[in-house]
């Protein structure tokens, strides 16, 4: 006998397939078998049909394609024999899914079978319908199912109930038809029908608010009684599991009570007693009991508050947490996360146990525990918690390190009580797991370090030490290189030694060694190498004796294939060689990056935590009085993700523009990398936003109103793009048209003498290009030092006349600007006339911050529209 003919029994085919030693052999056998089946199908042989389908199902489970058998299933379903129907339905459920159109053909057979006299056949049809029906089939056959909910046989009723669940999920409109029949099922005695009825009611409540109301009003008491009966029922061997009668029914009932009690105080009252009874009486030494307790705790936490019950629930969770069974602990951690919003104090009591769970050997438990710990951190426990977490970081798995590092950095940033602690902890994290630290975290660290001027020396020395031990952590290297570049002089001179420190001997050459190592390592990426190059430039100015050596190192990158490195090395080399006179001014100490705004932005974008801790985090002392150098304000501190403002109204428009991300909710802060990206996109966005044509919210007549509406209370928005080198500044400044070096010096003014307090301020040339010159004359009213009146004079340097001349300006938030109308908007050529315009500026940070303005000029030149823009940084001090 051919082993692969249809006469082969299913068993023999399975045996043959299992006997195959290799995958190729198995494929051959399966192929032959499928061929035989296909031949048999073509012959339309009814005798072997069900055997064929059974074989096909087995082959399907092995993973082979079996779609040619789908029509056979339909034929089997249409057969009159019960075994054939049965295998037909099984084949249908396995080989098809609801998205296949073939399924529609079954609708008629299903309808007939649902009306069959044989209850088992009705059961088959209900089962198939409940498992894979599509929305159309559901609609067609819903009336039949509704009728069957009241069938005489309880087994049919229970199948009909579950089938109805699928129907209402597929077609929610039909839910109302099922409300009353479902309510009737709740009064049943048969456990199977009761369970399925309860489940149907639960799903109805989810789908239809009317159902929820109906059940809440009519059925809550009945359900409470039923639960009481089950809880108090005597031993019933049929339903007993681990000493509890029908735990499944317990759980379903408690769940339905939860749905009914949520948000409704009356319903919640009705169930308090029985929940207390279940919570206290249920045995918790077996899984079944724990499952019931778990469901009970969930319900207690979700319904309206009853103090005693909640305490009970949290106690149960506490017991779960110390259970040796991993499953129970996992479930407890899950529940505690929800409980935290309800009662933080109670959860805090379990903090030690939760911390232990972070170190558990089970990855699922670790993950849950870490999230929970993160929610529990507040100002009082942040130090010990962080200490524990960092200790754990050293021994944790690689997969877990990423999560753990992110959470630790987040906790440190939010709750650090003082800067030195922050720096210490971050250094520890960087040394241990620097490669997992995200960009925002180490950027923030640099911001903090630069703000804490009394800690500059401490930081750079600590980083130097850390570098000696953990140089393989890339981010540590980056931060170290930046600090050494900035504060290298403090490093070798042991400046600002704190009491807790020991002095270290570092020479200029050692410092250069550090940077050299980081450039030369082949594992360093572009950011590290770029940062190293600029650090070298800074060091060449701070340690002139090492200048030659530094130059040699820089030159080695002159031929780099990476454009950024090549450009930097050539430019820096040229600075060192030919421009020693400006070098020191060029690489002066960086101005302080504004911390409060940065932290405010980060707090806004971090994941949701318990509300109380948010307000505290923003009160970090902004340690240091701003250094005298004018802060470099990037007025448009918008990272490339932001598409700001079209949604805001005209007045708040510029405020949003300048305040940037504080006001726009839910922004995702991408790392502002140390490249030229940030300033350039800022320019583009300004272009779009101030453009009269493109902005939808701006009315063309009120440009000046919009521009002068900046508010004075918030501090200016600083750009982290400044971590990068002068070339990026020069790119931006070139748009002003002026000599780049000039603007840099204007921005980086050296430590000045006392600001000029006299009433007379020198005029400045705010903007100069081959086509246009703008001069500003200043005057101040005596007695009001914050207000300045600026007379702006525009002169046309080209040969043609300019028409439709419009001047626009934007200022940071601490300034208020009012533009008076211009004298005219036609500018005669070649300086034969000029336009004047008055600007009134109020500086709310007078004395602390100097004026800065960004401006844009639009005019028509030979009938072409021209746009020029620039930033004015050279306002006299003290305005």
């Amino acid at each position: 006998m051919n082993p692969f003919s249809s006469e082969t029994r299913l068993r023999d085919m399975i045996r043959a397939i299992r006997a195959c030693k290799t995958a190729a052999e198995e494929r051959a056998v399966v192929r032959k078998e499928c061929a035989a089946i296909r031949a048999s199908i073509n012959e339309n042989d009814p005798d072997y049909r069900h055997r064929n389908i059974a074989k096909l199902m087995f082959i399907h489970m092995l993973g082979y394609p079996t779609h040619f058998g789908q029509m056979e299933c339909l034929k089997l379903i249409a057969s009159a024999e019960f075994p054939e129907k049965r295998i037909g339905y099984l084949g249908l459920m396995l080989l098809l899914d609801e998205r296949q159109e073939v399924l529609m053909l079954v609708t008629n057979s299903l309808k007939q079978d649902l009306n069959h006299a044989n209850q088992y056949i009705v059961g088959l049809a209900l089962c198939a319908l409940g498992n894979i029906c599509s929305a159309e089939m559901a609609r067609d056959l819903a009336p039949e199912v509704e009728r069957l909910l009241q069938f005489r046989d309880p087994n049919t009723r229970k199948k009909a109930a579950l089938c109805a669940i699928r129907i209402i999920k597929k077609v929610p409109d039909l839910a109302e038809n099922f409300i009353n029949p479902a309510a009737a099922l709740l009064k049943e005695k048969h456990h199977g029908v009761l369970i399925t009825g309860v489940q149907l009611c639960t799903d109805l409540c989810k789908v239809s608010p009317e159902a929820l109301e109906h059940f809440r009003k009519k059925c809550t008491e009945g359900l409470v009684r039923t639960l009481k009966d089950v809880v108090n029922s005597p031993y019933a061997p049929e339903y007993d599991i681990a000493g509890i009668t029908d735990p499944f029914l317990h759980i379903r009932l408690v769940r339905l009570l939860r749905v009914l009690g949520q948000g409704n105080a009356d319903a919640s009252d009705l169930m308090n007693d029985i929940l207390a009874q279940v919570a206290t009486k249920t045995e918790s030494n077996k899984n079944a009991g724990n499952a019931i307790l778990y469901e009970c705790v969930e319900t207690i936490m979700s319904i309206e508050d009853n103090g005693g019950l909640r305490v009970l629930a949290i106690n149960i969770l506490g017991r779960f947490l110390s259970n040796r069974d991993n499953n129970i602990r996992y479930v407890a951690l899950n529940m505690l996360m929800k409980a935290i919003t309800v009662d933080t104090q109670a959860v805090q009591r379990h903090r030690a146990t939760i911390l232990e769970c972070v170190k558990d050997s089970d990855a699922s438990i670790r993950k849950r525990a870490l999230e929970l710990v993160y929610l529990l951190v507040n100002e009082s426990n942040v130090k010990p918690l962080t200490k524990e977490l960092i200790e754990y970081l050293e021994v944790s798995d690689q997969e877990f390190k990423g999560d753990l590092t992110a959470k630790i950095c987040s906790i440190i940033a939010k709750f650090s009580p003082e800067k030195i602690w922050y720096i210490d902890q971050m250094l520890k994290v960087l040394s241990e797991a620097g490669n997992f630290v995200k960009d925002e975290a180490w950027h923030a660290l640099i911001v903090v370090i630069s703000n804490a001027s009394d800690l500059h020396g401490y930081s750079v020395r600590a980083l130097y030490r850390a570098f000696q031990t953990s140089a393989e952590q890339e981010t540590l290297v980056r931060v170290a290189v930046w600090c050494i570049g900035e504060y290298g002089d403090m490093l070798i001179n042991n400046v600002a030694l704190l009491d807790i420190e020991n002095p270290i001997t570092v020479t200029g050459s050692d410092a250069v060694d550090v940077v050299e190592v980081s450039i030369k390592r082949h594992t360093s990426d572009l950011t590290t190498k770029s940062m190293s190059l600029i650090a070298l430039l800074k060091l060449s100015s701070r340690f002139p004796s090492c200048s030659e050596r530094i130059r040699d190192i820089i030159i080695q990158n002159r031929g780099s294939l990476v454009l950024e490195l090549q450009q930097r090395s050539i430019e820096f080399n040229s600075v060192i060689e030919k421009h020693q006179n400006i070098r020191s001014a060029l690489v002066e100490r960086m101005p302080v990056l504004d911390e409060a705004t940065f932290i405010g932005r980060r707090a806004g974008s971090s994941p949701a935590i318990v509300p109380t801790s948010n307000s505290a985090s923003l009160n970090l002392p902004n340690g240091v009085a701003k250094p005298p150098a004018a802060p470099l304000v990037d007025l448009l501190d918008l990272s490339s993700d932001d598409v700001p403002a079209p949604s805001s109204s005209g007045g708040g428009f510029l405020q949003d523009l300048l305040g940037g991300v504080d006001l726009l909710p839910g922004l995702n802060q991408t790392a502002i990398s140390g490249t030229n990206e940030a300033p350039r996109t800022g320019t583009d966005i300004l272009l779009d936003l101030l453009s009269i044509e493109t902005s939808p919210t701006q009315s063309s007549s009120s440009i000046t109103d919009i521009l002068s509406s900046s508010q004075g209370d918030k501090s200016p928005v600083a750009s982290l793009g400044e971590i990068s080198s002068p070339p990026s500044l020069s790119t931006r400044a070139t748009s002003a048209g002026a000599d780049p070096m000039m603007d840099l010096l204007g921005g980086f003014s050296p430590n000045p003498p006392m600001p000029d307090n006299g009433p007379v301020y020198p005029s400045i040339v705010a903007f100069e290009s081959s086509s246009l010159r703008i001069t500003f004359d200043f005057s101040k009213a005596p007695g009001n030092p914050q207000k300045t009146t600026i007379l702006a004079t525009f002169t046309n340097m080209s040969q043609s006349i300019y028409t439709d001349f419009i001047f626009q300006a934007a200022v940071p938030k601490f300034l208020q600007l009012h533009l008076d109308p211009a004298s005219s908007n036609t500018l005669p050529a070649s300086g034969n006339g000029s336009i004047t315009q008055n600007l009134r500026v109020t500086n709310s940070q007078h004395g602390k911050k100097s004026l800065v303005m960004r401006m844009r000029i639009a005019y028509k030149f030979n009938n072409e529209d021209i746009l020029e823009e620039g930033q004015i940084n050279n306002f006299p001090r003290g305005l």
Binding site: I14, N131, C163, R166, G192, I195, T196, P247, N287
Partner: protein, 138 residues
């Protein structure tokens, strides 16, 4: 609800699959492959729950077979463990000390029993006796 039930052997061979949510053939193979990878590599002392793609998968190992059920985030994992055990006990009662070979050669019977236990991803009958009676009647 339970989205699917998966029985896999320790070598990764599929012994039974039942899908209560729409998954195309391709998706099914992908899911099986991924889950097998995750579950078969878990150590013995770890908890029986795995977070996977926004769902939870509850699994339990009986001899050489892993019984896996994929549920929603809000479902009760401990209860699903009980459901798995319920199924295994019914199989045991039906086959008399069931082993993997029984399930291989009588997979269609295992399916019939599962169909008496779960429909539309929800539990149908908490009584083992009733299920056994229904199976023998058909």
């Amino acid at each position: 609800m339970i989205h699917f039930v998966l029985l896999i052997s320790r070598q990764g061979k599929v012994r039974l699959t039942k899908w209560y949510s729409p998954y195309s053939q391709k998706e099914r193979t992908k899911v099986i492959r991924e889950l097998s990878g995750v579950i078969l590599t878990r150590g013995p002392k770890l908890c029986n729950f795995v977070e996977w793609k926004g769902y939870k998968v509850v699994y339990k190992r009986y001899a050489s077979l892993y019984f896996c059920m994929c549920i929603d985030q809000e479902d009760n994992e401990l209860e699903v463990l009980e459901i798995i055990h319920h199924y295994v006990e019914i199989l045991d009662r039906y086959f008399g000390s069931v082993c993997e070979l029984d399930l291989i050669f009588n997979f269609h019977k295992a399916y019939y029993i599962l169909d008496e236990l779960l429909i539309a991803g929800e539990l149908q009958e908490p009584s083992k006796k009733t299920v056994a009676r229904l199976i023998s009647a058909q």
